[in-house]
Structures are given as C-alpha cells and as structure tokens.
Symmetry: C2
Subunit: 231 residues, 2 copies
Amino acid sequence: MIKALSLFQGVDDATVSDFAHHSQVMDLPKGSTLFLQDEPAEWFYVVISGWIKLFRESLEGNEAVIDMATTGHLFGETAVLEDDTHSFGAAAVEQSRVLRLPSALLKKAIKDDNKMALAMLTSLSRHRKRQTREIESLTLQNASQRIGCFLLRLCTLNSAEPIEFKLPYDKSLIAARLGMKSETFSRALNKLRLETDITVKGSTVKIPCMESLSHYACSACSNEFPCSDLY
Amino acid sequence: MIKALSLFQGVDDATVSDFAHHSQVMDLPKGSTLFLQDEPAEWFYVVISGWIKLFRESLEGNEAVIDMATTGHLFGETAVLEDDTHSFGAAAVEQSRVLRLPSALLKKAIKDDNKMALAMLTSLSRHRKRQTREIESLTLQNASQRIGCFLLRLCTLNSAEPIEFKLPYDKSLIAARLGMKSETFSRALNKLRLETDITVKGSTVKIPCMESLSHYACSACSNEFPCSDLY
C-alpha cells in the first residue's frame, strides 16, 4: 500500500520497507481528533478508509475546512518542511482508518535519498496545483456551481446514468468545505436543483446526466470536465 | 541576487553561477504578457521590480487572479514538476523588470543535486502554506476584512503612524486578486472605512493605527498580525 503512494514512486524497496516497519494502522471513531494546528508533527498519515477533515481555526474560533482527505490521500507530510509543526488540525468526520508513518524517517529520507526528495517534490507540486484550482473555484464559481463541481467529483466516470450515490458526509460539512455558510448552501443547492435536473433527497443524490451538470458547473472554471487529474 | 533567493539557499556557488550565466534581464511594459496558461515552460522568473499578475481563465473567458508577484518573488518554477507546462498565465500589470532563468537547468539541478531538490521543496512548501492561508481567507474573512488584510500586508512594520502609501496597482485588479467583483469591492471598502479609521482617496491610503485595523481584519483569520512570514 505504501509502495503504491505517489510519494514513494521511484523510491527503492529498502526505503519503502523501512517505512512499512515503522508504520501503524489506527482506527478512528467519528469525531476523533488526530492532531491540532501548531502541534509538533511526529507522524504523517495516509487514509485507508473514511474521511478526515483538515482545518484551521480563526482567532474568533471559526473553522476553515481547508481540505477533506479520503482513501489514498496523504496528509501532514509537509510538516517536515515547516519546523516539524502541523499548520492545520485533522479530525475524523466519519469512522475512519489511517496508516501513520514517522515524520523523522521521511525527513531523513528526503535528505539522504534524492529520489525521495524528487517524489516529495512531485507530490507537493500536485497538491499546489489542486490548491490553485481551489482558489480559482472560490474566485470564479458561484455557490451553485461549486456544489455542482463537488457532486461531479464524486461520480465514477463512465457509470450508467442516472448516477445515484450518497453524500459522503454531513451537508453542514460540505458547506464548510466549499467555503459557504449553511444557509447559503441550502439556497445554492435549491438553485442548482432548479437549473439542472439533479435531485437530492436527504443524503441521496441522483444525477440523470453528467454532461448537463458539467455544462452548468464547469463553464466558470478553467478545466473541462472531467478534471479527475486533481488527485 | 540569484544567490539571495530562497530557492538557492544552501546550493553551492558553482550551480548558482551556472544559473547566473544563463539568465537574462527583461523589461516588460505595463500590460505585456509573459506567457499563457498551457504554454511550454522554457523559463522561470524572478521579479526585480513591478507587479506580475498570475492568472487562469475559465472556459467562459473570466479571469481568476491566482497571485500577484512582486520584487523577490519567484514564479513559473513549478512547471518543471508538471509536464514542463505553465498551469497559469503571467502578465505585467505595471512597468516591470524580471530575471528569466532556464527551466531545463532547474530540472537538471534538482535531479543531480539533492541540496537543490531540498531548496525547491522548502520553496514549494512555503508557497503551499501561503495558498492554504489564501483558501482560509476566502472562506472565513468577509470582503471588508480581506481588503483590510490586503492593506496591512502593504504596510512596513514599525513605521511611524499614520502610515500613508499608494495602492500598488488598479483597484479593479485588487478586487480580482481578492476574489471580488468591482461592485463588491467598492461596497466593502466603504464598509471598511466606516468600521475602522482608515481613509482612501484615489489611490492614497492612510492608516492612522495598524493595531485597530488588524483588530478588525485579523480576528477572522487564524494568524495574528503581523503574518509577514507569508513570503
């Protein structure tokens, strides 16, 4: 599993197995906090299953959800480049399973092994690209388009239409993830329902035609659908 | 100048002088385009003076200003990690001077020299941190607070108050940089004037008390003022 991560692409087997020997699987109940912002970073993490919320808190106590990590995603690894401190907090928003790997080992590996440094560069660069698109989306897409974009990313490509699936986590959290207040989210979701042909009942979403939804959501973005290269 | 860049920290002199020999100073008139999104990346750039707008364009033709680079800032360097293609466009919004350096040399250096790879990692990680804060700001701060935050970052710390300075570029561009429509920007600037004691006449800004402005703008952010470590 570690070997399959983009962070370990091109890294030799001995290094990978060194990481494997020092890693641990953790089961996290829904709601449990993995670490807080500004805490020293002893570990970095890979999500095996579930959803992990990455967040920052304002001085007033409001929370910005800066990312949601799920199966195969890596987080906390950049702390080794930033004074060994986490610049955000992490909490499980659903029952989740993660693998934790020692930060000290990563720090040593990128210093000693240029392949590891290059793999880390590629991983960071991919993340930066995602963040750039995130900023673009917050800037150019309206609230309904952002929700449409969020739903499209949950679709499996080439599925038979209509596509039906459950929302992966609470609507209030989706709102926070998309940078909206709950009221804005509800209004924007209603508008999306009116302007496209999707239906949302409780947490069940039905998309009759991905193309028509993408026509609505993606026109305000610089990426054509599908943009699955985001991960 | 190259040696002083964070990208070259810890890199040996021979490598730095190799870059120096292959770099060129360019003078850019206001409005000139340096490169477009999806163009092959032959060069990366350092700003010597002026302001360079980094932008992406939606399918509908709207522009998202994803960053503004000024003196000492580096841009376009990450293309060597992304299929040698620029993921955004760059244009001078004021008369500007930049230094261009060959991307091929950077690509070779990070492969051959672990110090260069580590320096690049640090640079990318710093950039990632800035983007995370940008996403946080777009999520948590209201429009007036975002303008206040923008003005605070233009202040020189420990200056005698009141602080007076000129806006670095057009208000319409500041609006775009902060992810707002021009109307929203005008309304939010008025609100900021009413709720704090700053004055803005034409492009001249006067801040009688940085602390009171930071009290207003920074409360919705996870960073206490000053957050000058952003660059």
